[in-house]
Assembly symmetry: C2
């Protein structure tokens, strides 16, 4: 059961002019499952993306980067689940390329104007034949109000489709931002494939699009991942069709920039948090906020030491205020000159530790009360400076082991 | 059930002349449990130790370092389970110091000649009164042939006492090396308390003792831990009584140095591996060997990325050759210029991947066959140089979650 996360209501998902979506059952891994998604983009659409840093990055990631570098207008995105096409070498590249060639032929563009995405099992050959065979059905299904179906089609071990919309006004004209994402919902989402697609009908220059993407990523998907610790397939794409007829946002200095960046960021944060809420086996949504650091990097070290600790995560699962495990994680986070006498640890509204140890006024029942909540905030004051950061994580439960031990069965 | 690890047979544990051990029930956390150990050392004994790097290091660790720095002969070690006396600030130091003062008074030495050790729950006050009250019973129990009882008394979530001995000959005289250890048996033992005590009746200078300690640690306990990622209480002590009447080993150049270092290292490796074999919920013992790196550091990065990955560990638990997860971990290990085309991955005797992807000759049934074994070796050839390293880990099972969710109950 995801933590406080319901499937999107169809009426909450707003179409984005210039974007149509279609799904089909290709039988990539299992029959009778919508596992193929085509996202078609109107002429004049801009696209920017960020990708995994993994050295074993997947064939579709390599092709996406190649195609984007050519700076030809992107006309369609092609997404399959069931197979990650990663760790597949030259053969994997050829298979991914073939799906682009066939989709390009079907819609009348060059294959480098297609961006491919795959998610699923690593190191197995992509069944390109079955994907190609299903393309006509996915194209026939393409329509603007298909975001909910698209969100469901890209799920792997997700239990709930993840999609949301924001509406805003730029220069008096209505603008829509709608996004979908899937996270295999790992405890460390960075280790699983995260795919995110956000589209708007606002108009942005390529430069402005990249700036919005960077801002939104830093505050959302990168708060649930670690640099250099990403899956083979992670991809997050930002799409701007310009079909709303608004002024083109040329860059950070443009008057409409802040409002659009804010809306995109809100959608990205909602999607990133949804991935954690649907984390495999998750029963708790945990916010780790670290402040008072000398710089953001050391705040991140502490936040991720807490967020990654299996001992901390099992204590959350058990609703057990075994809070020494939090101190332990702070202690080994890798700040060599950390003075623990200056550190304060809060669990929700409860001060737990200060002056190098437990706060004399701390009472076990207060810790227990917070631990029983489904949304918990851990706040660490390092007492060394003014930098801060926030990361989101979930607990570690029996179901995590079951899901990952049985994933391929 | 630990992986291929039986309790030591009493006849296999050899007394070390000059070392006596006694245990008692102090009721530190629970009644009717031997939770207190005193190790008395004869006059003339040398002691050296290595300790956790955790910034929240425990009160006994602070005292141990303080006492060793004074270079007075150590006359006894005092170990309790049930309470780690960590995250306890000034009050924790005072309580630990009091136990040293009382033991010193009882055996007639100065309190700085006592080394204290604690393991158990973090951030709770040490019941020093109950420990002090039990000291006479532990002292009355002291004898040379008590190593097995001592190994049992320092267990926390361990299921099997860990102890072993080696016999060697130096200059024609018999010499004994005997050690005990406890690991709360975490998946990452570095996050739990690891205590290790190895004693020999050989004679070593303080300098030689430190050299042997460093060599043995690097090849054993540090192969199951990560720098800067250690618990609040980790401690490993090496004791040399000199009671065997052998020549004093003055340093690395001494003719007896290599043989003694070898024997100590064998005991340390056995104990370190035993901690993994008894890992919480472990069903498999996994050796990760990485070779062909430019330096040992990058080999370690890859080895620990594999050894720490919950996805890899749950696949081992499931005996599922979902080996793409291994490639993924290699890819995010943090070698930015790793050329995956030069990497080869072996599972046991099976070549799994080369040239950036799966080996065309790899067959799933071969992977399955290896995954079903209880002892598995993962070997990665990086193809970049001649450095190598080995680490040991275990799988991630349901029982890990149960044990850690229920630990304080």
């Amino acid at each position: 059961m995801p933590v406080n996360l319901a499937p999107p209501r169809p009426e909450d998902l707003l179409p984005v002019k210039g974007v149509t979506l279609g799904v089909a059952e290709a039988g990539v891994r299992k029959a009778h499952r919508r596992d193929l998604l085509v996202i078609r983009l109107a002429e004049g659409t801009s696209v920017a993306g960020v990708f995994t840093q993994n050295r074993y990055c997947a064939a579709p990631v390599i092709l996406c980067k190649e195609h984007l570098a050519l700076a030809k207008p992107v006309r369609a995105l092609l997404v399959n689940t069931g197979n990650a096409n990663a760790g597949t070498g030259e053969d994997g590249l050829a298979r991914a390329r073939r799906t682009c060639v066939e989709l390009a032929a079907a819609i009348g563009c060059d294959s480098v104007q297609i961006l491919p995405f795959s998610t699923g099992v690593i190191m197995e050959p992509l069944p390109a034949d079955r994907i190609v065979a299903a393309l006509p059905r996915a194209l026939a299904d393409c329509r603007e109000d298909n975001w909910g179906t698209a969100a469901a089609a890209i799920m792997t071990t997700d239990t709930v489709p993840k999609a949301c919309s924001r509406r805003l006004s730029l220069g008096g004209k209505p603008v829509i931002v709608t996004g979908i994402a899937k996270g295999a919902g790992m405890i460390h989402p960075n280790m699983a494939t995260m795919l995110g697609f956000i589209a708007t009908d606002a108009a942005l220059s390529q430069e402005a699009l990249r700036q919005v993407l960077a801002l939104a990523t830093a505050r959302s998907f990168n708060r649930i991942t670690v640099d250099g610790d990403t899956s083979t397939n992670d991809s997050f794409m930002l799409i701007a069709t310009g079909a709303a007829g608004t002024q083109t946002i040329s860059g950070e200095g443009h008057p409409d920039f802040a409002a659009l960046a804010q809306a995109v960021t809100e959608v990205a944060i909602w999607l990133a948090q949804a991935i954690i809420r649907d984390g495999e086996g998750a029963t708790k949504f945990i916010t780790v906020h670290v402040e008072g650091g000398k710089n953001e990097q050391e705040c991140s070290k502490v936040a991720y030491a807490i967020a990654h600790s299996p001992l901390v995560k099992t204590a959350f699962f058990a609703s057990d205020p075994n809070l020494g495990r939090l101190l332990c994680a702070i202690g080994y986070a890798g700040i060599p000159d950390l003075d623990v006498d200056g550190v304060r640890l809060h669990l929700g509204d409860v001060l737990v530790a200060r002056d190098g140890g437990i706060d004399p006024a701390y009472r076990e029942e207060d810790g227990k009360r917070v631990m029983q909540q489904s949304e918990i905030t851990v706040r660490v004051e390092l007492g060394r400076g003014s930098a801060q950061t926030t990361v989101w994580t979930c607990d570690l439960s029996h179901d995590y082991v079951s899901i990952n031990a049985d994933y391929r069965s």
